[in-house]
Amino acid sequence: MKYETQKVALPFFMVAMALFTLQIVFGLLAATVYAWPNFMAEVMPFHIMRVSHTNLLIVWLLIGFMGCTYYLMPEEAEREIHSPNLAYIQLAIFAFAGVAALVGYQFGIHEGREFLEQPFWVKILITISFLMFLFNTSMTLLKGRKTAINLVLMLGLWLAAVFWLFAFYNPTNLAVDKLYWWWVVHLWVEGVWELIMASLLGYLLIKMTGVDREVIEKWLYIIVGLALFSGLLGTGHHYYWIGAPGYWQPIGSIFSTLEVAPFFAMVVFAFTMFWKGSRNHPNKAAMLWALGCPTIAFFGAGVWGFMHTLSFVNYYSHGTQVTAAHGHLAFYGAYVMLILGVITYAMPQIRRVQPYNQVLNMWGFWIVTSAMCFMTFTLTFAGVVQTHLQRVLGMNYMEVQDQLGLFYIMRLGAGVAVAVGAIMLLYSFFGPAREQVPAGGTQITAGAGSA
């Protein structure tokens, strides 16, 4: 850690991980209801668990992005954060807003559009906090060095704030409502968040592989270009069945197929830089995350997205467990792994120790990642069976769900494994630092230029 104010990131990481833990708890509760439908039906109905699970994810990812940005910005801009106090204040506001929304949900206080259920005043607090964050980081950037990494990152964050404003627009016409609802939901996760993802990944690769910045930054522009060229019109795959014109079927099919390209490019990018790299970085766990993140994002967002994105396939699969399968692995691969990777990279430096607890961290990596993949497979099988029975044969929804019980029990099992792996990760981040370096390390020194 070259700059003192990079430690601003620490409380962001801690709050993010606390909310991540809660997200898993609510996920386990909801998965239990799928397996045993009467579970907690009186105390906490399913919709409360579900809104808590999804909102916690969104809030902790955003807080995680903020922490990553505060950690990265001083090194990239070559100056201290504009105002560390402002950072702590905006974190307090954001965390308060997120927790207030969560508590409110338990008492039925909410709005009613999916993922945007936060009460109006919570949305206002989130907006204020995010603007404070953007001001603080942008001031740091403006006075400092401008690199492709920090410019693309800040562009992604600013655009995320701009598209968030559509959360305040709720037309009375349901079709129009959905049209603009996707301007938040899709343009975030399949648009500008990919800018954040690619730039953070680029940062990790510069630091850990030692590949020349010029090369990495050129790749970065190519990747984010692919992301927006495909992702903007790719929104069309959400416009097939909501009352929009028929031309979205060819446009959405073609451009959302192309959405696979930036994810594939990120895999090639990460592995090429890894092999080209001459630096034998001691944080092997962070390197594992930096390679795992684009790989799982490629499968979760790319392959699983493509599986049901063509309009003539989606006509049958839309709104089944296939979507749930894709959603879980895409978010995990692209954004959860990204933030866990940056935390793995940053924590030893923030704590001013050599990389520690690496073997435990890698166990956590493999357990959580395998369990998320297994969860995705079970939901995919459930979704395929559901699609056939309900959408092809026309069987009644509830009868079909009765056929899927085994898949839901296996999904719950996968959820328990995720929780176990997550506990290992949290302990490896925040627990006592013991030096654990994996033996050998041929995987790290495989690069041609390595010593």
């Binding site: 209801v33 959905k178 049209l179 060229f229 097939y240 009352g243 049958y316 769900q401």
Partner: protein, 150 residues
């Protein structure tokens, strides 16, 4: 890959191309907005009651169990075409009283079956909610879903 491409060229392609695709996307969205208001949805039939029905739908966060036009939680049946499923096209009165009775009967309390909570809607809220579901069923959405089962 892309050895002939310089970083500044890649940057310019990114900014220029993104702007181009954004403008194209915004223009198509504007047209879709126009199309929804004038062609695919019943703007005249979007009465105060339907609007209130959408508020009831949102106030009770139905979306976090059900789906509507395929979007939602997938935990409970699709409701974008529930009006059709209850035979509303042939017999609107029977569909209306059928949906009303079904909601009033919750929770069913059947062991091993997903439970919908009890909602103590006023008659006005209930009617508005059903008006909203009827209006939604009327959206021309490319004949989705493939079966009335939803």
């Amino acid at each position: 890959m892309a050895d002939g491409l310089t970083k500044s060229a890649a940057r310019n392609i990114f900014y220029g191309g993104s702007l181009f695709f954004f403008l194209l996307f915004a223009a198509l969205t504007a047209h879709s907005h126009w199309y929804m208001v004038n062609v695919s949805t019943d703007s005249e039939g979007l009465t105060d009651s339907v609007k209130h029905g959408k508020e009831v739908w949102e106030k009770n966060m139905c979306i976090n169990c059900h789906s509507i036009m395929g979007e939602g939680a997938y935990f409970a049946p699709e409701l974008g075409n529930v009006w059709e499923r209850y035979g509303g096209h042939e017999n609107p009165e029977a569909a209306r009283s059928g949906i009303n009775a079904w909601i009033r009967a919750q929770p069913l309390g059947i062991e091993g079956r997903r439970q919908m909570p009890a909602y103590d809607f006023s008659e006005e809220d209930m009617n508005s909610l059903i008006d909203f579901l009827e209006w939604t069923d009327g959206i021309d959405n490319q004949d989705w879903p493939p079966h009335p089962a939803g």
